[in-house]
Amino acid sequence: MDDLRLVERDVDANNVKISAQKVQVYYGSNHAIKDVDVDIEDKTVTAFIGPSGCGKSTFLRCLNRMNDTIDVCRVEGTINLDGEDIYDERVDPVQLRAKVGMVFQKPNPFPKSIYDNVAYGPRIHGLASNKADLDVIVEKSLRRGAIWDEVKDRLDAPGTGLSGGQQQRLCIARAVATEPEVLLMDEPCSALDPIATAQVEELIDELRQRYSVVIVTHSMQQAARVSQKTAFFHLGNLVEFGETGQIFTNPEDPRTESYITGRIG
């Protein structure tokens, strides 16, 4: 069995986008992530599943160093992006986050207009040379976030005035507007209705053509629908990681099986 896995990994190694080895995360004395090894491939959707509090968000935040903003948080191990250690001293987290974008678990639109929310990233990274370009980027991003039709007439209205689900899609639009190479999505659909969910899943599928996407989800169906790889976390450990089809139909670990069939949660 082990041999089989090794072979599989070797084949994939050439298009690994992010490779994490022996990652430990501590919040003060709380050991939240224990010895996690994961390879996230390019042009692939990777799903993180697992019961609440198992460390999915925490691990996701390691991948673009968002944990730097938490004082008590300490990350150990190596995480390579395109073969370069992102926790190396020479790496600027600002540049890293421009490449590895993030949609947060709770929608957090800025208290600015809808337009300015989406234009925020392109503006600071200088992606548009003039107003017309910026307009194009904003419209395209809002369309990809599946919210264009709802807000096209009120781009000047404050983003904080939208409903929870609309805010979340605005945040998705805001994240894709900077054209990241990797998009980390922390439960992007937890506040969305089935139609918007389907649209976001469509977006994820579209993004996969060019980028790699990591999505945290509590919906097994969603993980099965959108992802090619699935990682199952439990109590801070990575229990199982592999092809999504394999995980859902033929899990190796009894914990994975009981989680998927709804016996731990």
Binding site: M66, R97, K112, I124
Partner: protein
């Protein structure tokens, strides 16, 4: 006398508590559940009713007695000296009171002696009325409360009702005091305006301020009450203070909330708050004794004449005084900006500077503006620093190196000067009322802005 009575009322109240609770406990016997209220509520009801009746009687008797004695003496004076003014009569009354208790009076003549004797007589009678009235009422309240103790008596509801009344009375007192102060400001202002023949324009737009020079008692010269030099001086000093305080305070707040290590923050924040605790009189003599000579010396060496009392010095020291005020309030609002917003910005690859200038500050701006407005209203009303460092002459100038005067300084001079109160009070109250309006406006504006800002995150 009164304090002994008050102590007695309290003793009776505690007695009512213990006796009432004792009786209720005995009455409940083995079956306390049948009683509507727990025994301690029966006791509490006794305490409340005794104390309320006792103090009510005490206050009532004191009010009535002082009113009666005063009006009796006043009418005597009115008979003897029909031509005397109200102030003279009040002076005689207070002299008579002083003589009656053997204290020092401003003068002692037959009338005063006679009044003192009659005052002593009346006071003696009232003392008995007070003791008997208060103790009698307390005794009645005590018996009433003990009599009420029974299984069905709703002592809990009744005591809650009494507590509610006491709280309501306290709240009313607080509100009425405010209303009273504002009303007296308004009336004094109106009476001042009537003395200058309602030339309010001359007060608001005139440029000569020397209200007490060459006027006969009780009169005002409309041409000499132009408050523009005062307003201009106040504005200039306040502006200098804001120019010092807003940038320093705001940058300090940004540094403390988003850059400083938790350890530094833990030390620096209390330090700033200590700065806020320095009495303004200390800032005042610091300005006058330390800063002013320093500035004058520096001015001399580069050829700019700086007066020893100057708007610049007063404004800068006042700015230093306001820094902690602005930094502490701004720090609070900047900290209130949710971490999720900062995360959102960092997550898009923004630097710390971009995050602060483009997300945090705009989100906190209403709070910062209101902090600045509150600082402004502090500066406008600040007195001690300007009294010591700004100057007294009503001098209309745009040069910050010269002495200017402020509204507050002029109020101080009017009230502490040796002109009789009746003449000086008019302009002082009017200036005070103007100041009150400006500060009120500022505070209301600040509160509105803060309220709107709160809505955004709730």
């Amino acid at each position: 006398m009164t304090s002994i009575l008050a102590a007695l009322v309290f003793v009776a109240g505690f007695a009512a508590y213990f006796v009432g609770r004792q009786r209720a406990t005995a009455l409940a016997g083995a079956n306390p559940a049948e009683m509507h209220s727990r025994p301690s509520y029966h006791g509490f009801f006794g305490f409340l009713i005794v104390v309320i009746c006792g103090f009510g009687a005490l206050i009532l008797v004191n009010l009535v007695s002082s009113y009666q004695m005063n009006s009796a003496m006043m009418s005597t004076i009115a008979e003897r000296l029909p031509s005397s003014s109200n102030i003279e009569r009040q002076l005689i009354v207070s002299d008579a009171r002083a003589l009656a208790v053997g204290a020092v009076a401003s003068a002692s003549d037959d009338l005063r002696q006679e009044l003192a004797a009659s005052f002593a007589r009346m006071a003696n009678i009232w003392a008995w009325v007070r003791v008997l009235g208060v103790l009698g009422l307390v005794a009645m309240a005590f018996l009433y409360a003990q009599n009420k103790v029974s299984l069905t008596w709703r002592a809990r509801n009744q005591s809650e009702f009494l507590v509610q009344i006491v709280l309501g009375v306290m709240a009313t007192i607080a509100v009425l005091t405010t209303v009273g102060i504002v009303l007296s400001l308004i009336f004094e202002t109106l009476s001042f305006f009537s003395k200058i023949d309602w030339r309010i324009d001359k007060f608001l737009f005139g440029t000569t301020w020397s209200p007490l020079s060459g006027v006969h008692s009780g009169e005002m010269d409309a041409d000499k009450v132009g408050a523009i030099p005062l307003f201009a001086g106040t504005l200039m000093i306040t502006m200098i203070a804001m120019v010092v305080a807003v940038p320093i305070g705001l940058f300090a707040a940004i540094y403390l909330s988003d850059f400083a290590s938790p350890r530094f923050r833990a030390i620096a924040k209390p330090m700033l708050e200590i700065l806020a605790g320095i009495p303004t009189v200390v800032y005042g003599f610091f300005a006058a004794i330390t800063v002013a000579p320093l500035f004058r010396g520096a001015g001399d060496s580069i050829g700019i004449p700086i007066a020893s009392e100057s708007a610049l010095v007063a404004g800068m020291v006042m700015g230093i005084m306001i820094i902690p005020f602005i930094s502490s309030l701004s720090d609070d609002v900047i900290n209130a900006v949710p971490q999720a917003l900062r995360d959102g910005s960092y997550g898009l690859g923004a630097t710390r500077a971009e995050t602060i200038t483009k997300v945090v500050l705009p989100a906190a701006l209403p709070g910062i503006v209101s902090a600045a407005l509150l600082g402004f209203s502090r500066a406008v009303g600040e007195t001690m620093i300007v009294v010591m460092a700004a100057g007294q002459g009503a001098n209309l100038t745009a040069n910050p190196f010269e002495a200017v005067t402020t509204v507050t300084v002029q109020i101080v001079m009017l009230i502490t000067g040796d002109t009789e109160a009746e003449t000086a009070a008019g302009p002082a109250f009017t200036l005070g009322f103007t100041l009150f309006c400006v500060t009120l406006l500022m505070n209301v504006a600040a509160q509105r802005i803060v309220a709107r800002y709160r809505e955004m995150y709730d």
